[in-house]
Symmetry: D2
Subunit: 365 residues, 4 copies
C-alpha cells in the first residue's frame, strides 16, 4: 500500500453535497421509460441526446443527466461546493495533486455554470460547481406525487480496489467517515463518507475499479420503496430488481437495488440518520457479521458484488479497470472460502464457546 | 388418483372461519419468549404446561395454544362454526366419511366449549366448535399496540401430497377456491380456499404430508411487518427469518415467513383482497411464472418447500408422512430440471418468439 | 314511534354487500375532474351523460355512477344479492311491504342486468341485483396505483329521522348491527349495520331525511388518506376537505370526509375490523363520549351533522325531507345545550366524584 | 422598532444544532408518566428531582431534562457548538452584547461539561456547550422501538413580540432563514431558522414573550404520529391533543401538538426537507393564505396562538412577558377582524376578480 495519495498543501474545496451524476446510456428512449415512466423522476429539460432529471424536492436544475452514447458508463460524479470561489479551490487542489483538470466557465451540462472536472487519483471523473439554475422545487406538488416518489438524491457509491487509499483521499477532500466494514486482520472492505448530514454522500466499495457501483435516491417512507417493487412486478420487469428490499445494517436505511436498461445500478433508500455533529460516532462492522449488509440476514446476490458501471475519463473513454488485490468481501463471507455469523461467540475468556452461529446462505439450488 | 374422498350425504357443517391452532412445543419458556416477547401476541391465560394467546382484534379466547410436549407438532386446526348445531353437523359429517371422531362437551382447550375433533381424510386433526369464551377485544387498546402488532389470525396452510383430492374434500366441506397454481399438464401444485371473505382460511401446498406448512397472522400495514424483521435483527435472531418480506403473487398480500424455536413456521401477512361475492374470480397461476410466489421475483428458499411440522392424531401421535408422487413445484421451477419466466412469450401465432425470459435464480454461491 | 315497519312474511333477499351508488351531478366535467383526476377512480365506461367508475380491486362493472342531471341527488343505493333468485325475493319482499317497486330485466345502469329498484319504507331508493358484467380487477396493476389509491367501496351512510325504526327495517332485511350511539335516556343517534364482514355496509345517522350522508371508499393504508389531503392542498381545494383526517371511535377506522363539486360527501376510510362471527360483540357508545366520533377528541364540524344529499324517488324527483323529532346529536354534545366528556366519572358508588372531564370544543372564534 | 440588537464585533459561536431543553415541571411523577410511558422517550439517568431523556437516535446524554420545581417554565434552550473553543466564543459574544452570562466548567446539567448560559437579548435562557457524555445510540435497538417512537430532537419554537428584531439577532448568531410568514404591509408574523440541514433549529412566533412555544421531536414516518394520537385516545387523554395531526404549509412537515401535564407544548414532527445548500430558497407565506399553518386548511385552535410556557432567568425566576405590539396572526386571519383565503384572486390587473375564496372557519358552535 505504497500508493497513498499525497495531501495537497492548498485547501480542499468546501463541498456541500453530492449533487448530480451524468451517465451515458445506449438507448435514450429505453432509459427515459425507466427513469421517467417507471421511477417518476421529473424532467427539467430534454432534447434528442440528453435528458435532465430531478427528484421531487430538488431546486437545482438536475440530479441526473442521461446522455446518449455508444458505451454505458458514468461521465461525472458532480458535487456542489459552497461558493463560486470553491470551484477555483477545487481546480487548484487537483492541479497540485497532479490530476488532469478541465475548467469550463459555461459548465459541462445545461443548467450548471462554472465547473471543473477532474480525473481524480482513484480514476473517477469528479465535478465541482456552485453556479446552477434554480428550478421549481416540487416539494408540495402533491398533485405530481407518485406512490413511489423519489424525493432527494442521496448518495453515490464507487468501486475502488484500495479502500484505505480512497478513504485517505476523500478525508483529505473533507469527507468524514460514518461507517465502515473491516475484518480482524485490518482489511477494510468498504467505507461510507459524508459532507451533508446523512450517512454518506459517497461510499467506497472494495473491488475492481474505478467503477460506479450505484447512485441512490431517497423516498419519504418505506412503503414508497415497496411500491416501486410492486410496480416493477406489474410491468413484468421484476428481473431488474437485483437485491432487496431490505434493511441495511450499515446506515440503518431501508433499501432496494434495481438495474436500469444499461445495467446501471440504482438504489432506492430511506431513513438513515443524522451525522452532523463533529464527533458523530463511527460504526465499524465486522465483515463476517451476517447482518452488516442486510439487517435481516438475507443474502447478497453475487452480481451485487461483482457488477458495476465503467467510468469515463475526460475524453469520454472508459477508464481501465484495476483488479482488487486484497480479499474480496464476497469470498470471505460466503461459500467454501468464507463464513458469516448471526450471533457472536457466546461468553469470553478461557471458557468461551467458539460458537459463531449459522447464517442464511441463500443456496437457491 | 383413485383415492378421492366421497361426498357425504349429510350437510357439511357451516364453517365461519379458521379460529385457532393448537401446537405442541418442546420448551414452553422459549416459545413464550418468541410468541409473547418477540411477536407480542397477547396472553389470555397460561399455566405451567399451556399458554393461550390471541391477536389484538380477537374477541374469542385464543387464536393459538402452545402446549408443552415431547415432539414439536400440531394438535389441532380449529374452525369456528356458525351455531352450536353445526358442531353436531360436523360430527355426523365426519362419521359418515368414516373418520375417527371425538366429541367433548367441555372442549379440548380452555375457553372453548362443546367441540368435535376428527382425523380428517387427509390425515389432519381438524376441530369444529361454536361455544367459546369472549374476552376483551383489544382493538382500541393502542396503549398495548406494538410497532409490529399482530391484529388477526388470518389463515392456516397445510401440506398434502394430492392437492386435487384435498381440494375436493374442502370444497365439499364448503370452502371456496380463490387462487391456485397449476401447470399446462394439469398438475395442481397448491390451492387457496376460504370461508370468510379473504383469500383463504386454509391453503393446500403440494408436498409430503399431512404436515402443517404455516399459520398466518395479519398486521394492519406493511411497516408493521418490516418492524418484525428489524426487531429480529436487533435480537440477533435474523436466522429465524426464513423468507421475505415480499409481495405474494398469489393473494397479493405482503408477507414474511419466520420460524419459531421448534421450527414451526409463522407467516405475517397483510392486505389481500375481498372474496365475498359468490362469483369471485378465481385466479390460476402458471407454476413457471416467476412472480407467482413472489411478485418481485425473489427466489423461494428451498427449506420453504421442503420443511413443515408434523401433525398429531387424536391420541397425540404423529401422523405418518406420505410422499407426494406428482411433480414438485421446486423441481419444476428451479435448477437443472426446472425453469421459470418473468415475461411470457412475446407475440402469438406463427411468428411468435418463443422467448420465455429469464428470472432471478438466487444462486448465492 | 308508532310507525314501525312491518316485517314481511316472505324471506328477505340475501344481500352480499353494498355494491354501487348512482348519483346525479350537475356538471359532469367538474365531477369527472374530482372523481377521476383528484381521487383516481377508474373509468370503466363513459358517455356524454354518464360515467361509470370503479375502485382498484373491484371486479364488477362499477361502484359509482355519475349521471348528469338538474339537481344534485342520489338515484340509487345498490346492493348485490347472492343469486339471480334473490332479485325475485327482493321484489316480493318490498311488494309485501307495500313499497313502490320497479323491475328491469335489462338493469337500470350499464353493466348491470336484472335488477329491482324500490322506494323503501324510509324513503330511500334501494336497488338489488345479481347479474353484472365482470371487468378487469386491477388489484396488481401497480403501474396504475396512485399514492392515494381507492381500493374498495366500503359503505353507504344514510340520514333518517327515526333511527330505531330504520334499524328494525334493516335488521329484518338481514343486516346486523355492529355499533351504535345512544344516550342514557334510550335515544339512538346512529347505528352501523353490515352484511359483508366489515363494520358496515350502511349506517343510519339520525337527522332530517331521507338523505344520503356519504359514500365511503377504502384505501390500503393510512398514508394513502393523508396523500389525498396533501393533493387537495396542492390543488388549492382544501376547502373541500370537510372533516378529518382522524381516527373514528365507532368502527376504529382512520377516516377523511371530503365534498364533491355538488356537495355530495365522500368518506375515505381504512382499517376497521372483522365482524363475520355470528356473535360479533356489538359496541354501544355514549353520545356524550367525546371520543365516539373522533378517537382523538377533535371536534365534528357542524356541517357534518347538518348537510346531506337529497335522494330521488323512482320518477327521479327528490324525496321530501322529514324533520327528526328526537334529540340531535349535535345539540346534546356541543354548545349551550350539550356536553361531552373525555373521561368518565371517577370512582363509583356513594363517594363517586361527578367529574365528567372537559373536552376539546373547537371554538375557532 | 428602534430596539434592534447590535451585531457584536467578535465572531458568533459556530452552532451545530439545537441539542436539548431543560424544563421545570411541577409534578415529576406525572411528567415521567407522560414523557416516558406515553411518549416513550428513553431515560438516560434519573434521580428524585431530575430525569434525563433522549430520543432513539441520539448519542449525546440527553435531549430533554425534566427538573422538579415550583413553577412550570423553561430553564434552558441548549445548543451544541462545533468545538470546545466555541464555548469561549459564545461567552465573549454575549458579553459584548451586554448580556448576563454564566460559565460553568462542570456544566449545568449532568452529562454535559463546560457550558455557558446567557440571558439573551430577547430574554431567553440560551446555553452553548460542546463537551457531552456519549451514550448508546439506540438506532438499531428495534427491540425497544415503540409504535410511536421519537427518533430525534428536531427544533425549538420561541414566542417573541418583535419578530424582525429576533430574526436579526439569530441571523447574526449564524442562523439562516428557511421560511417566514408575512403580510403585504411588511409585518412578519413568524420566521423559521436553522443551523443543521433541516427547516429549523428554532423558530420565532410573534406574540407576547419571551415564552417557549414548543419543543419538537421527529418520528420516522407519519403513522408513528398517528399512533401517538391513538394511544392518547386509548389512555383517555385526548384532551391533551391540542392541534393536529396535520400537514404544515410552512416546512411541509406532518405534525401534531400535544400538551404535557404542565401545559408545556410538544410537537411531533416528520418529513420536512433538506436546507443545506447556501442558496436554499426561502419560502415566504402570506399570512392570509389559509394553507400556511395547515396545508389542508384545518383551523388553528386559539390556544395554539395564545398559550406558551414561561422562561426563566439565570436565577430561576420567570422572565416578565412583554406584549406584542404588532398585529396578531390570529386576529388578522380569523373572526370579525381577519380573513383568509384558500385560492388567490383570479386574474390580475384591471379586470381581476377580487375573489379571495372562502376558507374553513372552525366554528364549532
Amino acid at each position: 500500500m505504497t500508493d497513498f495519495v499525497p495531501t495537497p498543501t492548498v485547501p480542499a474545496p468546501d463541498i456541500v453535497r453530492c449533487a448530480y451524476m451524468e451517465i451515458v446510456v445506449t438507448d435514450l428512449a429505453n432509459s427515459r421509460a425507466f427513469y421517467v415512466d417507471v421511477l417518476g423522476l421529473h424532467v427539467t429539460e430534454e432534447d434528442e441526446n440528453t435528458i435532465y432529471l430531478r427528484s421531487l424536492e430538488e431546486f437545482i436544475h438536475h440530479n441526473l443527466v442521461l446522455r446518449k452514447g455508444p458505451i454505458a458508463a458514468v461521465a461525472a460524479f458532480a458535487y456542489r461546493v459552497k461558493s463560486p470561489a470553491e470551484v477555483d479551490a477545487a481546480e487548484a487542489y487537483y492541479k497540485e495533486l497532479g490530476c488532469r483538470v478541465e475548467r469550463r466557465k459555461e459548465g459541462f451540462t445545461k443548467g450548471v455554470g462554472d465547473s471543473v472536472r477532474v480525473e481524480d487519483p482513484l480514476g473517477f471523473p469528479y465535478e465541482f460547481f456552485y453556479d446552477v439554475e434554480h428550478v421549481e422545487r416540487l416539494t408540495q406538488r402533491y398533485d405530481l406525487y407518485s406512490a413511489g416518489e423519489l424525493v432527494r438524491l442521496d448518495h453515490f457509491n464507487q468501486v475502488t480496489p484500495d479502500v484505505p487509499r480512497g478513504r485517505k483521499y476523500l478525508e483529505d477532500l473533507g469527507f468524514r467517515v460514518s461507517e465502515d466494514i473491516q475484518d480482524s486482520d485490518g482489511v477494510t472492505y468498504a467505507v461510507w463518507m459524508h459532507r451533508k448530514q446523512t450517512v454518506h454522500d459517497t461510499a467506497l466499495t472494495g473491488g475492481n475499479g474505478p467503477r460506479m457501483h450505484h447512485i441512490a435516491f431517497a423516498t419519504h417512507e418505506k412503503h414508497n420503496i415497496i411500491q416501486i417493487c410492486d410496480k416493477m412486478g406489474a410491468l413484468r420487469i421484476s428481473d431488474r430488481i437485483e437485491r432487496g428490499p431490505g434493511r441495511h445494517g450499515v446506515s440503518n436505511a431501508f433499501y432496494l437495488y434495481i438495474l436500469d436498461p444499461d445495467g446501471h445500478r440504482i438504489e432506492i433508500y430511506t431513513q438513515d440518520y443524522y451525522t452532523g455533529d463533529p464527533d458523530n460516532p463511527v460504526v465499524t462492522w465486522d465483515v463476517h457479521d451476517n447482518q452488516r449488509r442486510d439487517w435481516w440476514g438475507n443474502p447478497v446476490v453475487p452480481s451485487w458484488y461483482t457488477e458495476a458501471s465503467l467510468v469515463l475519463d475526460l475524453d469520454g473513454n472508459p477508464q481501465p479497470v484495476v483488479v482488487r488485490e486484497e480479499k474480496s468481501e464476497m469470498a470471505v463471507t460466503v461459500g467454501a472460502d468464507g463464513f458469516s455469523y448471526t450471533r457472536k461467540t457466546e461468553g469470553e475468556g478461557a471458557g468461551a464457546v467458539e460458537q459463531k452461529t449459522g447464517f442464511k446462505l441463500g443456496a437457491q439450488l
